[in-house]
């Protein structure tokens, strides 16, 4: 794929003047960078892009872009984004949030967004912790991770978002590491271009509450095999890997959701004959 920047827009054109509240070193800075680079690559004008989020450190991202944004309530980013895309299919819609937002409080929407297959890109900045509320375990946190809320760990099995996405019908599934700007950018571009619901999980370290995650940069590795179009194979591979292989893992060919709002409308008077007696 040609990663040359488009002539019309530079990555910086997609940044707003608002400075992030993120801690220095937070992985989300890198996600913001990759995201704006991907937009420049796609060349879509900022006003035709919408970035929808929930609540969390990661969910602060819309205001840092120069796109239309919606910073909604905790857990409801996906239906907010789906409603927008169905109503305005001309827009390029991103839903971007955290693992708590997307897999815990918003977990049900995740399943159904995958099933519904609305043509949008869902980017989860997975730091395996609730950053904004200062360090509680999320659905992707290891069972023995110690915290004030769950001393000694939750003892619960971490959630497997990529497998869930495959099982639920997502059309494109990828894992990236925030520190790998080049690969993340490329994958976001591909996710947008792929029809239907594209899910990109980005391992994005929380340096403040999970300083151990700084080691991720040494652990991640590019997926050894090519992406597949067989969800069962992709699932098996993801279930058995070490959680650190990155790249596009699955490309499906399911028909995207196609019941959109049109651009022009008929006179509602056509609905009235059914009532006349």
């Amino acid at each position: 794929m040609n990663l040359a920047q488009s002539d019309t827009f530079k990555a910086a054109d997609y940044r707003s003047g608002v400075s992030p509240i993120w801690c220095p070193g937070c992985g989300d800075f890198h996600v913001l960078l990759s995201f704006t680079k991907a937009l420049a690559e796609l060349g879509t004008a900022p006003e035709n892009v919408a970035v929808i989020s929930g609540i969390g450190c990661s969910s602060r991202i819309p205001a840092y872009t120069n796109c239309y944004g919606f910073h909604g309530v905790h857990g409801r980013a996906l239906p907010l984004g789906a409603g927008l895309k169905v109503a305005r299919p001309d827009l390029t819609v991103f839903v971007m949030s955290g693992d708590g937002d997307g897999f815990s409080i918003g977990g049900n929407h995740f399943l159904h967004a995958c099933r519904r297959n609305v043509d949008l890109t869902y980017v989860v900045m997975d730091n395996q912790v609730y950053g904004m509320t200062k360090g509680q375990p999320s659905p992707t946190t290891e069972p023995d991770w110690d915290s004030a809320l769950s001393p000694g760990g939750t003892g619960l099995r971490p959630f497997h978002p990529l497998v869930i996405a495959l099982a639920s019908g997502a059309n494109f599934v990828a894992r990236e590491f925030s520190g790998d700007i080049k690969s993340t950018t490329r994958t976001i571009v591909e996710a947008v271009r792929h029809p239907g619901f594209s899910f990109v999980e980005i391992l994005s370290p929380c340096v403040t509450f999970r300083p151990d995650e700084k080691a991720w940069k040494n652990q991640v590795h590019v997926a050894a095999v090519q992406a597949t179009d067989d969800p069962a194979r992709a699932a098996r591979r993801i279930m058995t890997d070490d959680g650190f292989n990155t790249g596009v893992l699955y490309r499906g060919a399911r028909k995207p959701y196609d019941q959109h709002v049109k651009d022009s409308f008929a006179d509602p008077a056509i609905l009235e004959p059914e009532f006349a007696i």
């Binding site: 205001a63 120069n66 910073h71 909604g72 789906a82 409603g83 305005r88 009532f275 006349a276 007696i277």
Partner: protein, 588 residues
């Protein structure tokens, strides 16, 4: 005989019920009679009552026909026909017979149960089963249709044409047999003789409509400009959504089935952020799930319409029956100060007006708007004059072009409504946010930003011109010293109040009605002006705790003496009870 009825052998209004176990076709019979009467020039209202069983349980059609528009059932029924008595007891409380009423059963099913046959009520026995059995494919419910036709004097040709229409898919033979059954019923009625003949309507060329409250809400919404709906089914609101699904597709919009109400309201907000007027419909349990996002719509100033068709609560409550007990959650439900509009339809026909007005208000003020309907309106079907076209159309203030860098999504304007940039508008990019924000939408915890944005959200609603649609203020034509009662109510009880006023007018008791359609914001000054000089105010509401009265009293002082008539559902407050309250008050 009811005092407001003509004192001769024909009646202005007749209420009747037809009951039967599942499959007996009681509801079909009611539907045929409603449509035929509507075609022939009468007005009508029909409620269906079904047992708790999902399918195949007992069912009753409760119908009232009249030469005048009707907004509610009467408290008692003139004629009851039971195809069988299976579980009919369960309905007994819902369909008390008038003292001069008539109940007809099949001798093969035994005597009329005591719970149903009250003192003075006439009883008659017609062998439905045997008569229907005399024709191949004959149906008891069609015999019952014929009985009603004969007793009330409906034109048989109209009934025949409705049957032909309704049974067209079943073929010639079924239509033929159906019509034969009706004729048999008519002959039987002739032998009974009747004191239940309906007054002849003024016209038989009506062009009227047959519509339910839930359908009327849907149509009003689409007329107002709604083009996106998100749906999660719930009794008794589902029909709003089921009507909208194909209707929106036909006009170029769409309905998405959501995974829950957290999603449905969020989808509506997302679609509206994109510039499409959006709606969702639910009942109490769903509204409870939606309140967090109502606050988001209020804070981010994204218009949406939420239809709440109330049922008995709390929790799962009584899903199939009406109550007005979601008033509090509709008006207050949310953390923080989150102003919203709450509009309540005053009749089945008014569901269209209320919904269309709600769309207009939501869009004009960029505010979440709740349409507070209820089961007794939503699931009732009426024959009405075709609704007129209303001027309420979604007109949102949007920015077409943005010249400079300085676009302020939440600018403080004279009307406190700020033009919205829709995605796609160059230079209008902003982030809608539930976080407290500056005029540009940038998150801020500054007290001045918070204060000024809260003021703005309050002022845009408080300063809006609602015209005279906030309430229906009516009198019953009795003037002078006797005109000293005022009924103060809202929503669906308006029909019962109107009926009571008409009855009391015949007794020379003057009553003024103030029926509130705009519940929030409460237009205190207008309400106080409407009540000025009122001496005895009867507050009417269908709640256990008196939510409406508390809401009124929290906001304004009511003049004169105040009495409060309130009761939880499912037994609706009816016109006769209202009359009794007022007569007793007068006598005291």
């Amino acid at each position: 005989m009811m005092p407001n009825e003509a004192p001769h052998s024909t009646r202005r209004s007749i209420s009747f019920a037809i009951v039967g176990s599942g499959g007996a076709g009681a509801l079909t019979a009611g539907a045929i009679l409603m449509e035929a009467a509507g075609k022939a020039g009468w007005y009508g209202i029909m409620n269906r009552s079904v047992g708790a069983q999902i399918r195949g349980g007992e069912a009753a059609a409760l119908v009232r026909l009249s030469t005048r528009p009707v907004d509610c059932m009467t408290g008692s029924f003139d004629i009851l026909i039971a195809i069988d008595w299976h579980n009919a007891n369960r309905f007994a409380a819902e369909m008390p017979l008038a003292p001069d009423g008539l109940v007809i059963g099949d001798p093969a099913n035994g005597d009329v149960p005591e719970t149903i046959a009250g003192p003075g009520v006439s009883q008659a026995y017609i062998p439905f089963k045997e008569l229907a059995g005399s024709l191949a494919g004959g149906r008891e419910n069609m015999i019952a249709v014929g009985l009603f036709v004969g007793l009330m004097g409906l034109p048989i040709e109209t009934v025949t044409s409705v049957i032909a229409d309704k049974l067209s898919e079943k073929g010639e033979q079924a239509i033929e047999t159906g019509c034969r059954c009706v004729q048999i019923g008519v002959q039987q009625a002739a032998q009974l003789g009747s004191s239940f003949t309906l007054e002849t309507p003024a016209t038989s060329q009506t062009g009227r409509w047959l519509i339910t409250g839930n359908e009327a809400v849907g149509l009003g919404a689409v007329r107002g400009g709604i083009r996106f709906a998100a749906a999660y089914p719930i009794t008794p609101a589902t029909e709003v959504l089921e009507w909208l699904a194909p209707a929106l597709t036909k006009v170029g919009g769409t309905l998405v089935q959501a995974e829950d109400e957290l999603a449905s309201i969020s989808m509506a907000i997302g679609a509206s952020f994109g510039g499409r007027p959006s709606i969702t419909a639910t009942s109490g349990p769903g509204l409870a799930l939606m309140v967090e996002s109502l606050g988001l719509a209020a804070a981010s100033e994204i218009p949406i319409v939420v239809v709440n068709v109330m049922r008995g609560g709390p929790s799962t409550g009584i899903p199939t029956k009406s109550e007005q007990s979601d008033l509090n959650i509709a008006v207050y439900g949310c953390h923080g100060d989150a102003p919203r509009i709450v509009v309540a339809p005053l009749s089945v026909a008014d569901c269209l007006f209320a919904a269309q007005w709600a769309v207009h208000l939501a869009e004009a003020m960029q505010v979440p708007t709740i349409v507070l309907s209820d089961q007794s309106l939503g699931q009732a079907q009426v024959v009405v004059d075709p609704p007129t076209q209303l001027a309420f159309i979604a007109r949102r203030a949007v920015v077409e072009t943005v010249e400079d860098e300085g676009y302020q999504r939440y600018a403080l304007t004279g009307s406190s409504v700020s033009p919205m940039a829709l995605p796609g508008t160059t230079g209008g990019q902003y982030t809608a946010d539930g976080l407290s924000h500056t005029v540009k939408g940038i998150p801020s915890s500054n007290n001045l930003d918070h204060q000024s944005q809260l003021d703005k959200r309050h002022n845009k609603i408080a300063g809006f011109d609602y015209g005279n649609h906030w309430a229906s203020i009516e009198d019953n034509g009795v003037a002078g010293a006797d005109a000293d009662f005022t009924i103060l109510t809202w929503g669906s009880l308006t029909g019962a109040a109107r009926e009571a006023m008409a009855t009391l007018a015949d007794e020379g008791i003057g009553v003024t009605l103030v029926a509130m359609r705009l519940i929030a914001p409460l237009l205190k000054d207008k309400l106080v002006a409407a009540l000025e000089g009122a001496q005895r105010i009867l507050i009417l509401e269908q709640t256990h705790s008196g939510q409406f009265r508390q809401y009124l009293r929290a906001n304004c002082d009511l003049p004169g003496e105040v009495q409060h008539f309130h009761r939880a559902g499912p037994q609706l407050i009816g016109p006769a009870e209202i009359c009794t309250r007022i007569r007793n008050w007068r006598a005291s």
